[in-house]
Each structure stands twice: as structure tokens, then as C-alpha cells.
Subunit: 516 residues, 2 copies
């Protein structure tokens, strides 16, 4: 190759240039296709902008509107937003603001022109002051927030016409002209936005909400698995504290739900401006119910955040204790994750389904966990004192609670509830040795040096260790309770998804699917 290149330098150079161009084009393509929505938006904006520009370049419209044609271009620039709903909303705001301001300015201008001499500009100034104050105050009114842009454009048009009127131009013709030019710009912007690769706010909202179900399910699963694996994480990293993207799968799963309230709200507002389209072929589609579902997902997220905090908590249950309820906790997390996914699937595929069927698995798993906690909660309390352990393992399980015991034996591996087996798992070494070792590993809180203790007797230190251990074992109970809380909040979610399905007219699915 090198030899060939030396013999034909021109061809070689040419080939090099071609390959360079190719590489550049490929990297541009790669760059643009990474976030296709942004590229599409930029392309559409360029098309609309160029179309509006043509109005100024071609003779006919220019000869009619003259230099004012720039307002059509400006309207396109200002009105053209990412989603169709936002563009509609801005376009309508701009149109109505212009229309009302034009009317008001013409009337006020005529009235003000009744004043002669110095009175005229004073009256115009006074009208400007009063209008400016009132419009600005109105803009700040909480219910007027979606129309903020309309208020702004109202003031602009108002001053435009008032100045023209004062300067002896023909204000009425100007107002009409201006309205039509702005209408022209708005029509160009909206048409390009709707007919060229449309990006609907409704679609985006639907996608975001559907995706959040699955992310939460992932987050919950990973969190519980990590917990059972005995993970003890370090201090909370600053990125998580600050709500920024961080390299933590649990956090990444729930982050989007946690911070997307404002986004969901604004998407729903824009979506309500959009005409029926695609899958949402229904007049007055219940977009606000998506916001509600999103809010309840956030409510569930708060519980998952609390669960996640258990992984980082300074006081942690040792892995042996965690493994006591491994299967039950795992089952609840699996059932909850499945329920999240099924509900998300319903929203995503726009299908109705039986909420009770979805929750039955969750209910079963939670009951199982509650029973296990009841049967073995004594293991969480001072496992090292010896008294409890002996008395309980001898007397309790078979005599007091035979029925539940029996059903459990039927359902699961027979050996698991055997207290002796459990005892072995909890005590692989002598209790004192274990305490010592664990104390070093445990993050105690408040932070204390061993030297800080004012006691000198070993037995007292040991007791302090026990206090911490008791707290650490109790943290397992907390984890389990919080997990049950996640399951309970699913009820709200089922209701919200049902309501959404009802109002949005989700399809009924064939019966066999709802058994799963």
C-alpha cells in the first residue's frame, strides 16, 4: 500500500481527503443521531426560518408589507418551540395578545389625541404608565402563569401602535397589518412544526411516565438485592446530595422521577394545547391524569429513597441478620417490581387491566413477610444475651404457633425455620468475638473513638457495643417496614392508573393476560 501510495501521490492524497471527509461526516452523523429529537428540532427550525426569510427575499410579499415583513420572521423565531403544544400555546398567546393590544392602543390613542399641545404626550405617557403597571401585575397573577408570554407581547404591540399613532402614522392600518404579518409568521411556524416530523408534548409525557415505572422497578430491585448482599455504602456522595446524575444504579433509577415534577407539569400543559393525534385520538384527552400518575410515582419514590438510605445509614444490620428474612424480603421486592412493570406496561400499551390481579402477588408476599417478622422478630432483639435465644428456641416455635408454622413448612424449604439452623447462621463464632469484630466494621453514630468511653471495664464497653448492635438489628426491621410501605403505596398507583385508563379510554385486554 505504502509503495503504491508513493507511486501515485495524487491519487493517494485524494483518497486521504475522501477518507477524512468521510470520517468527519460520519462523526457529525453520529453526533446528530445521538439525540435525534434535538437534530430534528434544529432542522425544522431551520426550515421554518428559511421559509419566513423567503417572504423578505421574494418580491410579492415584500411589496405588500415592506420592511414590516421582519415581524413575520421574528414571530417564527419566537414562537417555534420544541413541542407542538408549546408552539401552539405561544402562537395563540402572541396572536391574542397582539389583537387585544392593537384594539386597546387604537382606542386609547384616539382618546389621548383629543388632548391638544402638551396634554397629548402627557396623556399618552400616563396611559403607558397605567397599562404597564396593570399588565405587569396581571402577569404575576398565579393563574396567569401560562399566559405570561401573551402579556409581554401585549405590551410590545401596545407600545408599537401607540408610538405609531402619536407619530401621525395610520394606526388602524398598522394594527391590522401587524396582526396579519404576525399571523403569517405563526402559521409558518406552526405548519412546519406540525407537518414536518412532529414532536408532540403528549408523546413525550406518555414516554416519560411509562419509562419511570420501569426505572423505579429497577431501582427497587437493585436496592433490595444490594441490601441482602450485605452492601454497606460510604457517605452520601455530593452528587447525590445535590440531585445531580451520579454513578449509582439505585439512585439513577429513581432520580428522573424525583426531579421531573415541573417537566411533567409543563408537558401536560402543552399537551392540552395539542389537537388529537396518533394514539391519543380523543377530544380532551386527560393529560392532567398523567401528572397525577407521575405525582404518585414520586410518592412511591420517596419510600424508595428511604429504602436506599438504609444502604448508607450509619447504623446497619450485619449481613447475617439481613439473611434471616432474605427470601421474604426478596419476594416482596420482586412482587413490587413486577407490579410496577405491569402498571407501566398498561400505561405504555394503553391497556386496561385488573388492579386486584396485579396486587394479589404483592399482598401475598407482604403477608408472608409480616408473618415471618412476627415469628422471628425475637431474633432481632439482643441475639447475644443468650437468655432469649435459649428460651425461645426451646419453647416457642412449635408450641405456640403450630398453624402458621405448618403452612410455612409446606410452602418453603423445611429446614429454613429450624431455629438450630438459624442459630448456626447467626453464631459462626463466639458471641464476644463476633461483637468485637462487628464493632470495628459497624459505622457507629454519633462517631465515637473507643478512647472516648469514660468507662474502663470491659463489660461496659461490651454493653455499648450491644446497644449499637441492637440498633443495627432494628434497622432490618426498618428496612422491612419501608419495603412494605412501598408495597402499600402501590395501591394509590393502581387507583391512579385505573382512573387514567378509564378517562383516556384504554383498551380492555383479553382475560388470559390479566391472570399473569
Amino acid at each position: 500500500m505504502d509503495d503504491l501510495g508513493a507511486s501515485t501521490p495524487f491519487l493517494n492524497k485524494y483518497a486521504q481527503k475522501v477518507s477524512l471527509c468521510r470520517r468527519i461526516l460520519r462523526s457529525i452523523w453520529h453526533f446528530l443521531s445521538k439525540e435525534p429529537a434535538k437534530s430534528i428540532h434544529a432542522l425544522k427550525m431551520a426550515i421554518a426560518f428559511t421559509l419566513a426569510f423567503l417572504l423578505a427575499l421574494i418580491e410579492l410579499p415584500y411589496s405588500v408589507f415592506g420592511d414590516h415583513i421582519i415581524w413575520a420572521i421574528m414571530t417564527v423565531i419566537v414562537v417555534f418551540e420544541f413541542t407542538i403544544g408549546a408552539t401552539f400555546s405561544k402562537g395563540v398567546n402572541r396572536g391574542i395578545g397582539t389583537l387585544l393590544a392593537g384594539l386597546l392602543a387604537v382606542v386609547i390613542g384616539e382618546l389621548a389625541s383629543l388632548g391638544k399641545g402638551i396634554v397629548h404626550p402627557i396623556m399618552v405617557g400616563a396611559c403607558a404608565f397605567i397599562t404597564g403597571a396593570m399588565v405587569t401585575y396581571g402577569k404575576l397573577w398565579p393563574t396567569m402563569k401560562p399566559y405570561e408570554y401573551g402579556f409581554r407581547i401585549f405590551l410590545i404591540t401596545f407600545s408599537y401602535i401607540m408610538v405609531a399613532e402619536y407619530r401621525q402614522s395610520d394606526p388602524i392600518r398598522m394594527a391590522v397589518n401587524r396582526f396579519f404579518i404576525i399571523l403569517l409568521g405563526a402559521v409558518i411556524g406552526i405548519s412546519v412544526n406540525v407537518f414536518v416530523l412532529p414532536l408532540w408534548a403528549g408523546d413525550e409525557l406518555h414516554e416519560i411516565i411509562s419509562k419511570n415505572f420501569n426505572s423505579l422497578a429497577d431501582s427497587l430491585e437493585v436496592c433490595v438485592n444490594e441490601y441482602l448482599r450485605g452492601a454497606v455504602l460510604e457517605r452520601v456522595p455530593t452528587k447525590i446530595l445535590m440531585g445531580l446524575a451520579a454513578d449509582d444504579p439505585v439512585y439513577e433509577g429513581y432520580r428522573s422521577t424525583l426531579i421531573s415534577a415541573a417537566k411533567e407539569e409543563s408537558l401536560a400543559t402543552f399537551a392540552s394545547w395539542e389537537p388529537p393525534h396518533g394514539r391519543f385520538w380523543k377530544f380532551r384527552y386527560p393529560w392532567q391524569n398523567y401528572v397525577k400518575v407521575g405525582a404518585i410515582l414520586r410518592h412511591c419514590t420517596y419510600s424508595i429513597v428511604a429504602l436506599h438510605a438504609c444502604l448508607r445509614s450509619a447504623i446497619q444490620a450485619p449481613v447475617q441478620v439481613r439473611s434471616l428474612f432474605r427470601d421474604e424480603i426478596f419476594a416482596v421486592s420482586q412482587a413490587c417490581a413486577l407490579a410496577f412493570r405491569k402498571l407501566g406496561g398498561q400505561v405504555s400499551l394503553m391497556q386496561k387491566s385488573d388492579g386486584m390481579a396485579i396486587m394479589s402477588g404483592v399482598h401475598r408476599a407482604v403477608e408472608q413477610l409480616q408473618e415471618s417478622l412476627y415469628l422471628r422478630s425475637y431474633l432481632l432483639v439482643r441475639p447475644e444475651t443468650g437468655i432469649l435465644e435459649q428460651k425461645l428456641t426451646e419453647e416457642l416455635p412449635l408450641s405456640v404457633i403450630p398453624e402458621i408454622k405448618k403452612s410455612e413448612v409446606d410452602m418453603e424449604v423445611a429446614g429454613r425455620f429450624n431455629p438450630t439452623a438459624l442459630g448456626i447462621a447467626v453464631k459462626p463464632e463466639s458471641p464476644l468475638e463476633l461483637n468485637r469484630r462487628q464493632y470495628k466494621r459497624l459505622y457507629s453514630w454519633p462517631h465515637r473513638e473507643v478512647d472516648d468511653y469514660k468507662f474502663t471495664k470491659d463489660s461496659v464497653l461490651q454493653q455499648k457495643v450491644r446497644v449499637l448492635e441492637s440498633a443495627s438489628a432494628m434497622s432490618l426491621g426498618t428496612f422491612a417496614t419501608l419495603l412494605v410501605e412501598v408495597a402499600m403505596r402501590l395501591d394509590y398507583l393502581v387507583d391512579a392508573v385505573d382512573e387514567l385508563g378509564e378517562l383516556a379510554g384504554f383498551r380492555e385486554v383479553v382475560k388470559e393476560q390479566s391472570n399473569g
Copy 2:
């Protein structure tokens, strides 16, 4: 009065009108003074708007700039924002966008005019297309978000100058003219905003963050008090689910912290545009550290949200159980609330203080709670089985743990740890009766009708009740653990406030105050 009114109808009518006017004026005044910041903003906007308007009404500027003077008014309208930082940010964006676009448009326009005939408009159109696409894509770049407005104004000016150039006006003069007019508008807007009753973004951020400390303290106190009072709340109301304002003191306390992330972020961005002023008389004041403190407050809030959820949880500890650790839980909540308030006071008054001193009370209270939980956690486990209770009350307290017992007796009312006294408190009636009664009151989850039970023997039903009770008693442990979690997160807050104090140059306070 009526008689007098009849005799002097004119005076009466006059008096009526005066009183009516007074009432109207008073209600307007009341209305405007309710939210003074909004009234101030509207007034300032009206002043700036009128000043800009005067440019069009007075002969001198109009004779220089002609109809283009409207751009100064438009600039005022567009640039004038609530806070000074936002106004600066928009003004600078507008200025730089105009300047760069003017330069680019002049250069491109000159190049395009080299093409003769039909080539000229085609080249102009192509340039518009490319510029439109690139600017729009750049605007969507995540790091470019604060400059979004600059990109928009860039496109507007670009098209303005390009059209003028194509239409054989003098583009350079136009670009310079336009730049100065916009500068004039920006100067008017910014001057009024700065010199008339200034509203600083930095002030607002400082107030919001300081206030959130106290709200969280209130929220925590009310939540814990309600819990100890035995409050069991109903289903979560829709308003709370949706994150809207609701009539719940705990929720109202933490709501603002929970939802204000975006607001704090944008206020900090705007504040960084503001020159040193008032209390913040320091170049490069660390506004981003306020955001960090706010984020950590939010981190604490998530724990308080989890605590709050305990009040609404379907599975609840009965009030007798809650009262077991009443004093310790109350002490922790008081210590945490005090720490929140002290830290908030530091931020609010811009004082440095010793973090360790603030946290020492919290540490003491938490240790006390942990010890109590250790000593009495057996009470949370199956209090009705009888076996545990008898064995423990007989054998444990005095023999195994004399030291801690002793210190507790020293510190608190001697009778409180007496197991017999406790036994009485827990069992005011026969266990079976109590179980039955509580079961009705308890919200069980999953929801089950009593008929749903497939068992018929009373003893089995009783066991199911016990399972729920065990879970409900464990929920107290959860509450306590979550409360400790709040206390632990205060550590992060102390660090963040220290860092803020260091960077912002908070004053040292005299030593005697830091002992409190």
C-alpha cells in the same frame, strides 16, 4: 342618621361616594400590600416602560433614531425581570447576541452579495438555513441553557440585518444603530431595576434557604408530637400526593423545601449575575453553596417525609407502644429541631459557629434513644405471648445491665424503667380483649375482611391479629430509626453550613453564645 340623610340628600350622597371611594382605595391598598414584591415590580416596570416611551414622545431621540426607537421600548419590556440578576442576565444576553449577530450578518451579507442575479437570494437563503439550524442546535446544548435567550435574540438580529442588507439599506449603520438602541433600552431597564426599590435574587435566595431551616424544624416537631399523641391519619389526600398546598402542618413545613430545587438553582444563577450589594458585599459570593445547603436540606426532608409517612401508614403502633419511648423520641426531635433552628440562624444572621457544639445535644439524645431501644426492645416483640414478658421482667434489667440502668435512674424519673409499671401501661385490659379491640382500630394492609380468613378456629384468627400487631409494634422501631436518620443527616448540613460560612466570610460570634 336616617333622618339627617333625608334632610340633606346632597351631602349624604356626597358622603356615601366619599366613603365608597375610600373603601375601594383601601381594598386596593390592601390587595397591593398583600404581596408587596409584586406591587413593587409592577410599579418599577411601569416606570421603566414610561421612561422608554418618553424616548418616542420627545423630539430629540426620535429625530435621531426614527421609528427604530420602538426597539428600545421592546428591549425594556423583554429585559425587565423580577430580580436584578435575571434582568442583568437577559440584558447581557440580548446585548451580546445582538452584537455577534450583527457582526456575522454583515460579513455573511457582504459575501452573499458577491453572487449576482438569482445566486444572491439563494445564497442568503442557504446562509439563513445553516445559521438557523446551528443556532437552534446550540441553544439545546445542556451547558448553553442560561444563554437560551441570547441565541434567540441572535437569530432575530441576524435576520433583521440580513434582510436590510438584501434590501439595499445600509447594513453597517443599521447594525450599529440597532445595537445602540438596544443598549439604551437595556440601560433604562437595568437602571430602574437597580435604583428603584431593588429586588435582589441573592436576597431572595438567602431568605428562602434561611426560612426552610425553620420550616423543617417545625415540621419535624409537629410530626413527632402527633406521632406520640397517637395520631393515625387517613389515606394520603390527593393534594399531598400531587405536591400541592394542603392543610397539613407537617406537610406544609417541608413542602417548600421539597419542591424548591429548580427555584433555588435559578435564583443562584441570577444572583451570580448581581454585583456585590448589601450584606453580600464580597466579590464572587458563593451562591452555589446556598444551592448545596438547600440540596442537603432536601436530603433531610426526604427523611422527614418518611417519618411523616409513618403517621399515615396502614400499619401503626398503638399509642401505648408509642408511649414506651416517648421521652427519648421527644428529646431527639427537640434536639434536632433546635439544631435546625441554630443552623438556620447562622445562615440567616451570617454568623459562624461551632458545629460540634450544635450537634452535641443531638448526639446525646440519640445515644439515649439507642440505649432505651436496646434495653426495652423486647417490649416491641410479641408483648402478648406472656413468656417473654415474664422471663424478661424477672431476670434482665438489674442483673445484666447494671451500669446503664444506674445512669438512667440518675438521669430520669426512677419509676419509669420499672417493668411492672410498664406492664400495667401496656396491659390495661386482658390481652385477648385488647387484641380484638385494636384489630378493629388498626388499618390492616393488605386490606382484609375478617370473613376472608380461610381459618375458622379462633386461635388462628388471633394469631393473624398478632402478626399484624407485631408488624405494628415494629413500626415504632421504624419511626425511631428514621428519626435517628434525620439526626444523622444533620451532620451533612453542619458541614455544608460551615463551608458556606467559610467561603462567604460569615462573622465569628463571641464564645459565650456557642455554648448554648
